[in-house]
Symmetry: D2
Subunit: 409 residues, 4 copies
């Protein structure tokens, strides 16, 4: 027979922890049912609910307690004895920073000196309990083990936002596992393409400055990119790299070339003299790089102008409203947008997309991802990393073992 | 008679938008009741609910729609005619980026070309509707006005997190109104003190480097600070400023002094020679600054050592575990903690606090606030600003019109 | 008779430390002469020089030593005895991290265990010397005092870049004294105006989001601003604040208003319906704020469009090249440019300016200042701070005690 | 016969551009000699010098001009005619933002409307010249080509700092080519090991959080790491990853595990119960990861405690001064230090090192590198990138094609 456990939630209709609990169970994939549920009519009316968990799922039980649920048919807290000073019995109850009670001898006792990441040491004789860091438990101490007989009073605000006490719940952080994120982005792109959706890349000039332009070029060559958006600077520095070996005057080793500050302007001038970027490619002046591959592949490219542009290059759409229109047309059928190190273009493209489009924003500055989200593109997945290391690894993941491929259109 | 409106939510018990809707109503302070509520037992069981709003509260109605609610007894969308090309009738329905339908002639029509921040232009004759930027509406066009007859299909994930489509919902951002945040922090400190709670300041050396040490000193002198935590660097640079006019070798004008890199070490050496920081004060060598005021006021000070310390100063607690214990004792009775430009000490103090303590974290780097939150101190209020401008304004707000005051103890 | 001291520099013409030494002397305002100077013809030819310092300027002497100079007529290092364990004699020689020798008994001895911020303890008997942290000196130890008899071998690269070992020499940092920087900016603006030069402000929408728009408005009202540049967003959120009390949908307290995400679009729509922003002012719809003051003052305003714009507002120049031309015309006679929290517009304006224009770039993100500098505007003074606290203090400094003033034109 | 060119520098002894010019020539590897050099004795005394360049090195000639040198035996500026509107003749002179003159018909003419990145259009008839963006040159216009007959008046400050007008001269930037930097770091490590020097890695817990711990482990296994420094958190999260599959409670996919916030504390508790981390390895509880490899390899490890530590783990040195001493001993013979995503430990180790040690600091936050440099470790090479993508690529570069190797000791 499967073990079940039941948790009771009580509060007001507006404040009860039930929604947070249901959200946590959904995330955990737990097996549960709602045994009772009485919501009031007004927000301050009393509300109560009972959730029954099937199977001894300790994580789900903990989530119920941390969301403010109280175990029905509760038993006393289980206690374990400290065998070695400074170390607790395995499975000891590790505290949150919220007010906590433990049941000892049928009575609920408030735990003193509440802080996070400690053990609860019980003085059964005096009916007392306190938080103690594991370094301070003494041989023979009794500490609470597991979650039975423990009640946690999470503040209402907290309960509602995160469901339960947690670490690393910020959506945007420099401390996420990057390799795994790259694998996930690669999988998403593969899935979208398999579903016949197009992939749009929005790239800033940092793609060139950080030395990743060959990777983006290889993604285009492999047929992974269906639409390319950028600005004058993306194309100018890509051409500068091809024609003069520099970007913003610095070589691939990062060292400035003397007089190199002229190179991007010379690159722009060459394209203007030739009449178009495509003409430079046709004449064999440019033989590789992002623009070369995009032109060879014949994918739609929108280069949108901005007030900081030199030149600009022929083909750059200098009117902002006209550029928006061209981008919108090119976005038809796009299912994934990959935004690479460009806040301006990312927000612009985010403005043009429905929320069903899978949007990934890669930037070394966490603020860029936050700003994109704060301008309505809340569904964007943020990857806080260096595009100079991200793109080569993404390209490796997506182009392994294949030559030129037809693309979705 | 008050106008009421009703919104129906349908979905599964695990996914229904009701909790988000209730949360939004709570925030808006709306007057509402839950007319019906049928939750299933299992998460995939169907669920439904009807919320009735009292009073014609357009914001609340919009929140219901954006959370996935559908207006009962719905009417056709109201249409307004464009009087001047490129401008819409006042109160036009401004779109989200979520799939949307409008009711025209009793029929629900899917809006084409969905994107955010546009008007919905209706072609009643052909039963069509599309998003159009306001710059592109033409004289005579019919656009949807208000929220009636509009259905928005927010994706489940989004619904649950934010309740509804929004801007600026990130908790940590460089784009918050700083003056208002300062006023709020000042009010919180006043309220805590009025309630007999203590105020603890945790300060990093950037307080000195950015020229704000006089402000912190004035807060201590005015009796606003009951407990002071910092590291060796805070005290060393405070003394360096008092003894040599520099911090990290730079003057108050930010220019490095030649040979100034020696000054902090000379300051530490003086204190070591004197035997204690207090001895420097007693001998009249130090006549102002943070440490001077803290010693004069007799408040508890914990200076915790770290591996990057020079010296250290006498009184610095070099053992990390011992420092934690001293801090924990000093935190008894503290109701507000103000963390100023120090990630290390902020996380350390956050670890020691129950979640009931009002915690404000001031840092110019948004990542610092995110990291504090990701280590369990999720209740911290983050203020992303420059402590060099923040502290003078906070001090002005808190010390206006008063001399030395007794402090809570 | 004034004491003089002489320092000899030897090396190759390409690598000698003399230029760095001269730079350091210039900064210190020292009184010096170049007694000898023999540069070779080729970079690898030997070079030598002797610098004579007038007056016993310890800082200048230290700078000579730290730049690789060797004192002529050198004497033995002066030694002091440690009176109290863990504290050194006043004026002890505090080390750098560069290889160092001390002269003891006429012989140069290499100091062992080189590290920064330590004392040099001498074992005269065995002719040995080592770096020792001040905490580790023992009663009776002999430590080097002052800089005589000390040779520091700074690596060539280092010597050239910074002149000498130093702290806080980075031009862009979050750890500069902000109040002093504000005073300096205010003084620069006053000086420019006194010289009949114009002041141009380039502002991003964060000025509004951080609650500083009233401060910018007051600067315009006081006649301090002669030219205003911004984008569609600056004006849109300024109008949104005036018409609806929000910016990007959030109130002055930073809390999002329900449905507030519509407000900036409604603001743009009102201006489009009125035909111009000035018409909104004329009709009394807008009664304060940045645009209101700029229109009342009649100063030139250029609002340059970008691809992320909604609307745009009437008067926004949507073509990037045309906007550049308008900005360039408006910049005639400008002597100070204040760039406020906008990377895009800052780089754009930097591109248009000669290096004689005093340029101040205020941004909370140090990367913004670095990027501006890396795009050729190397003469910009960076202030890494929160524009939300910076502007109110600058406005207070510049508008104290005066009403409306005529402006330079 | 080789072409030579001569450049004259005039100014005061304190301000002349010669030092900057020599520095630029050194960087360019140009062939030059110093034909004359008369420095004054006092800083305000006149100074002059003539530099002769051998070979027609256009970059070197440009550097001379941009450093304030004037070409001797100067000729008129060479002019080219615009063949196509909006494009200039190849090799046209691209301007800086410094005041500029051109020689036309033997006369020096000041160029009007100075700005960077433009062409100089000459009106020979009226003896006038002005800056014109390349988009604005008209068919038939005469523009200056090359650098002859051009004088640039760089401001003294600028001249001295950077040698000449440039882009991308900031030492710390997010816009450097990361792949090339990784190759350079790998080469430096190989060179140091070939020279018999040790390699020390200083690692923060972000190495684990970003999923790069397997890469660091592989570097240790391959014998590339001789000394390992970190804190309690590095080891705790490494063990957490091995024992529970999480770090700070999140799985390798970045998703938080329910109850996962307990895992690092459970990991610490296990090690405390076992008595040491090595005991966990010996008992087979931990079979991979950073600590496992370090223990198996027997390399010196110093784990330094801090006030934010939980536990701590057995073996962590909780006293800061004792930890500094242990680190200093372990650093004997170290020639390369690789600092990975930890500001605290990086500054601490920087304090202990002589400037001859090759120091590389990897951090996603440019401020961390700036702070390290501002605390005296100015010789550190900063790599602003994501350690989660950096380490796998560095490990691939250093461990390719080899098994376990003996290490330098």
């Amino acid at each position: 027979m499967t073990r079940t456990s039941e948790f009771e939630f009580r509060g007001t209709t507006g404040d009860i922890g039930l929604p947070a609990a249901i959200e946590a169970l959904r995330r955990l994939g737990a097996d549960w049912e709602l045994v009772e549920s009485r919501m009031g009519r007004r927000r301050d009316d009393p509300a109560e609910a009972v959730v029954r968990l099937h199977g001894a799922d300790a994580e789900a039980e903990l989530a119920m307690i941390e969301a403010g649920g109280r175990r029905l048919h509760d038993r006393d807290a289980r206690l374990g004895r400290v065998a070695r000073a400074g170390a607790c019995p395995r499975g000891f109850h590790s505290t949150t920073n919220h007010p906590t009670e433990v049941r000892i001898g049928g009575r609920w006792i408030r735990v003193a000196r509440q802080k996070m990441d400690t053990a609860i040491v019980v003085d059964a004789k005096h009916g007392a309990a306190e938080c103690r860091t594991i370094g301070d438990v003494r041989r023979g101490d009794l500490v609470v083990v597991g979650d039975e007989g423990v009640r946690i009073h999470a503040p209402a605000r907290e309960t509602r936002r995160n469901g339960h006490f947690s670490f690393m719940s910020s959506p945007v952080s420099t401390e996420k596992p990057t390799q795994a994120l790259i694998a996930r982005v690669a999988a998403d792109i593969r899935a979208a393409r398999a579903a016949g959706l197009k992939v749009c890349v929005v790239a800033g000039p940092a793609v060139v400055h950080t030395g990743a332009s060959a990777s983006l070029a290889s993604l285009i060559r492999a047929g992974v990119v269906d639409v390319l958006f950028g600005g004058n600077a993306l194309a100018a520095h890509d051409l500068e790299r091809q024609l003069f070996g520099t970007s913003l005057g610095s070589g691939l080793d990062g060292a400035p070339h003397a007089g190199g500050h002229r190179n991007h302007l010379y690159a722009i001038n060459e394209a203007r003299a030739a009449g178009s970027i495509a003409a430079l490619v046709k004449r064999g002046r440019v033989k590789a790089g992002i623009m070369y591959e995009a032109i060879r592949a014949g994918i739609p490219v929108v280069l949108a102008g901005s007030i900081r542009d030199d030149g600009p290059l022929p083909g750059v759409v200098t009117d902002a409203i006209e550029a928006q229109k061209k981008m919108r047309v090119a976005l038809e059928g796009v299912g994934v947008v990959l935004m690479l190190a460009t806040l301006l273009h990312s927000v612009a493209v985010g403005n043009l997309l429905g929320s069903h489009v899978h949007t990934v924003c890669v930037d070394i500055n966490p603020s860029s991802v936050t700003k994109l989200s704060d301008r309505g593109t809340a569904h964007a997945v943020g990857v806080v990393t260096d595009v100079g290391t991200f793109l080569p690894q993404l390209a490796a993941a997506l182009t392994a073992g294949r030559g030129r491929r037809p693309r979705a259109r």
